[in-house]
Subunit: 194 residues, 2 copies
């Protein structure tokens, strides 16, 4: 149940002994959700940082005029959660919803603080994790500034081919920041060209 998480720790340069692993395990709660259930809802506090073991989560928000905008897809081996709400305890403006039946490991904010106190090298892991996240966001902002919708769509396909097959197009459109009709037209262009 914890293999994927510990593998992820290792991938990011973390060496853990048995005692540490047991301690870490004790901080994480295993939880199963069914498709369409919510892990967090707009207005709630995002109490946990959530590591996806199996399935897929989608983080989105709803704007003033009722439109949904997808911030992020989280398949297996990714984290999800609203870091702002988690850190400050303020209500989240995001919804985190299951696109499939999903199994996760969750750690609460106080437990995370304890974890840092007891296993200081977790600071290294999260430093690397957040650093990579900053790099990814950089790219995304750069893409929205520099690229057309078509280019951003192709980049998305390229980068997340596995996600594309598991997620309906209108959600991809809402991630790219375009209307589903526009994505449909773009897809037609791509077909013609190839």
């Amino acid at each position: 149940m914890y293999e994927l998480l510990f593998n992820n720790f290792e991938k990011n340069g973390l060496d853990l002994d048995t005692a540490e692993r047991e301690l870490i395990q004790s901080f994480f709660k295993h939880r199963k959700y069914r498709k369409n259930q919510y892990v967090v809802q707009q207005g709630d506090v995002s109490k946990y940082e959530t590591f996806v073991n199996k399935g897929m989560l989608r983080t989105y928000l709803v704007d003033d005029i009722g439109q949904e905008h997808t911030m992020k897809f989280s398949p297996e081996d990714w984290w999800a959660g609203d870091l702002y709400s988690f850190t400050t305890g303020n209500p989240s403006s995001y919804n985190v919803q299951c696109l499939e039946d999903t199994e996760v490991l969750q750690i609460s904010q106080p437990d995370m603080e304890l974890l840092f106190a007891r296993v200081p090298k977790m600071n290294l892991y999260f430093r690397i994790l957040y650093r990579n996240s900053v790099i990814a966001y950089n790219r995304r902002v750069a893409a929205t500034l520099c690229n057309t919708a078509l280019e951003r769509y192709l980049e998305f396909l390229n980068k997340y081919p596995h996600i594309q097959q598991r997620v309906p197009n209108h959600l991809i459109a809402s991630y790219l920041g375009i209307a589903p009709q526009s994505l449909s037209r773009i897809r037609k262009q791509v077909l013609v060209k190839s």
Copy 2:
């Protein structure tokens, strides 16, 4: 020369004793740039993470058709640099340019690794720093997905009033992802309404 940096460490929960401070100082190089000089240029490796002591930096990139897009402004007490290039050693796609005469403190990638080895609690500082950066990028992506150019402009003014007074409007436009003419029209609207 190091007060601002150490203050920043403290603000982010870092307690340092004299020995640690001296060690840390020895890793940072002080450097002065004149207005319009480049700290990093597209194609170079971003060898340093740069903390701004005085002045203002602007990180931007140039797209296929020669347009500039501003990723970030870094006034005093902020960091600048391309984290991707810094981490991997690959060439950067960004330019980092001085908008004013600027004084910085720089640390190289190998020195940063040494720093983490010698002062492990620096992991905590950068974890927090990157975490806050992730939160800020989240907001920015959410704003580009949810808000109109007008709303994004008002949010920018609200959040960085100090920057607005020190930076020409066409650079703000390139940060917001709109043409300078569009920003000019938006500013006219704002005047009429108030």
